[in-house]
Structures are given as C-alpha cells and as structure tokens.
Symmetry: C2
Subunit: 207 residues, 2 copies
C-alpha cells in the first residue's frame, strides 16, 4: 500500500509556485509554468487547487500564521519592549534569510499589493500590525515608551521600515550577507526606539 511513500505532488506544486511567482511575479506567471516547474501535468494543478489565486492565498496564509504566532509569543514574554520589537524584526528578517523566494512572493504579491491580494488578506495583515501596536501600548502603560506617540502609528512606522528594508533586498539585491542582516536588525530597532536626533548624555528617564 505504499511502494512510494506518496510523492506529495501537492507540496511539489506549491514549492514550484513559490519559485515561479518569485521569478516572474504572480501576474505574469502562467499556471503552465508552475506545472512545468513542478514536473507535473497542467491539469494536476487543478486537481489540487481550485484556482491560481488559491495557491498564492495558501502560500501567504501558511506563512503569515507563523508570523502572527511568533508575534504573540514575543508579546507574551516579559522582555523589555525594545527587545520585543527586536524579536518581531528578527523573526521577519530570519524568515527572509531562510526562504527569500517565499518572502518575496508574500511581500510583493500580497503585503505590498494592497489592491489585489492585500485586499483579501487585510484582516490578517492588520492583525500583525495590531500585535506590534499592543507591544507598544503595553510599554507605554508601563512607562517604558513615551506615550505621546499613538501606538498604532508606531506599529505603522515599524512595519513600514521593515517592508521597505525587505523590498530593498528583494529588488536591488543589496548584498544580504549574514552581517548585513544583523546590522539591519540592529538599525531598525535603534532608529525606531532612539530616533535620529542625538540623545542627551546618560540614560536617566523623565520622571
């Protein structure tokens, strides 16, 4: 009953979709390209998926769920807020480091594509922002972050920065050595938490 342990063509198709969507963009990727990349007949794609769209939806949701989970995890920890933000940034940047093609598809075709797919997934996307906003507002309540910057606004800046960063790596193929990734992680947090203007000497806080 199992001469070959189920070649899982479904997964193969999904993986091929990542490669093809990343290479050509979702719009100009033909279903036949995905089938070819997966080494599978055209029709089989429709055996496993209802539509071309569904493949992208599935790729996105699968991965985004992990991000939401990780963000929640981070939010629950009792680390200082700066480290929590760093935790979220780390997760995203590491995701890109390990699966650049998948992340490219998610960012370019969903997150940044507010018209088409971003529209559909707006609730999930917002959820991620909200989790960051929560981290910020918790910190504000605890007096660890200034409370005169709206938490949702801060979350927006945070995600704006990270998205822009990934977009840079994706399209201008900024080197992306391990060192670059680490530096970027540090800089996002420093910029957002400390600001661009110089800080007075010492670290004493406003009472």
């Amino acid at each position: 009953m199992s001469r070959v342990p189920a070649p899982d063509k479904r997964r193969a198709i999904l993986d091929a979709a990542i490669t093809v969507f990343a290479r050509q963009g979702f719009h100009s990727a033909r279903v036949s390209d995905v089938a070819a990349e997966a080494g599978v007949a055209y029709g089989l794609v429709y055996h496993y998926f209802d539509s071309k769209d569904q493949m992208l939806n599935e790729l996105f949701s699968e991965r985004w769920a992990l991000l939401l989970e990780a963000s929640q995890e981070v939010g629950r920890s009792d680390a200082p807020p700066r480290d929590k933000l760093a935790g979220v940034a780390n997760f995203i940047i590491e995701s890109y480091r390990h699966e650049p093609e998948l992340m490219k598809v998610i960012i370019v075709e969903v997150t940044r594509a507010a018209n088409s797919f971003g529209r559909t997934h707006l609730p999930e996307i917002r959820r991620a922002y909200d989790l960051v906003a929560e981290i910020v507002s918790d910190a504000q309540r605890a007096g660890e972050f200034r409370d005169d910057v709206d938490a949702n606004f801060a979350a927006m800046v945070f995600y704006g920065a990270i998205e822009q960063l990934l977009t840079g790596w994706i399209f201008e193929s900024i080197p992306g050595t391990d060192e670059d990734y680490e530096r970027a992680k540090r800089l996002v947090i420093e910029t957002i938490c400390d600001g661009l203007e110089p800080r007075p000497v010492g670290d004493t806080l406003v009472g």
Copy 2:
C-alpha cells in the same frame, strides 16, 4: 480659429485615467473604461498615447518630478534637519490631501508595485530616497543628527513610514480630516527624530 478653445481631449483622457485607475486599479481598468470616462471614442486614446502603460507612466513622472523638485528645494534651505524632513513629509501629505486619486494611483500602482511599474521607475523613486538621505547625512556632518545610523537607512525608514501612512488612508479610508493630516505630519517627524523611548529631561546634546 478658436470657437472652442481646443477641448484638450488629451488632458481629459489623462484625467479620466486617474479616476478609472484609482477606482479599479490599473490592471483591471480597461482602456475602454478610460475612453468612456473621458467621453471619447476608444481609438482616440491611441491617437494620443502609445499604450495603456504610457498613460500611467506619464501620470507618475509628471507628479514625481514635482516631488523631486520640492525635495531639492527643501534640501537647499538652511532650516534645521528636522524641519527639512517635515517639509518633505508635508509636501507628500498635502499632495494626497489635494489629489487623493492621483496619489493613490502613484503609490499603489507604481511606488508599491515594485514588480511591474516600480521596476521601470526605480531610478526616479530611488532619487527621492537619496534626497532624503542627503538631508540626513548633511545633518549628521553638522552634528545635528546622530551619525551612527546609516543615512540611507534613515531615508528608508522615513519613506516606509509615509508610504504606510498613505496606504492606510487609501485603503482603510481612515477619516482624513484636516486634523488627521496635521497630526500625522507631526507624528511622523516626532517618531523618526525622537524615537519611541522616553528622552531624558532637558535637551542637552551629547558632546
């Protein structure tokens, strides 16, 4: 010689394109929709434009040139760097306030569409980032901004935040009262210049 002072159908078509692209998105906007919106025959669109793409390109370049000009202007002034950044932010937010449809098209279909049109216009887009980066690095040389944050990185955060902000207005129709716009202008600058962490009392700088 001039009973009707040249109805300038070309402009009418371009304006119709703004409306239609903003409403339906570039991709699902048909050329026939634009013609209908402009009250003009289908073929006339191709009398004035080579392709559907060319219309979008023209809409983008026309407006983006203004942004670049304004940014340069701001960069040349001798205002404090914080005010320079505020100047750029103001220009963009005011552009959105006065021509939300056009800005929607530009942001959604070009700036955020790194695959399709963003690709084509990357040099112009980068130029805008570079101008902000210059403002930052000038300030760093003058000791007015910390110099341990890469200027290009700062520019990225700045644009990331603003793009995210406009995207919010565009898609979630966040109110957008005059008050909201003013508040947003203030918050972007505050967040980016001062950071999220509380600042020690007084404003004395690191020596």
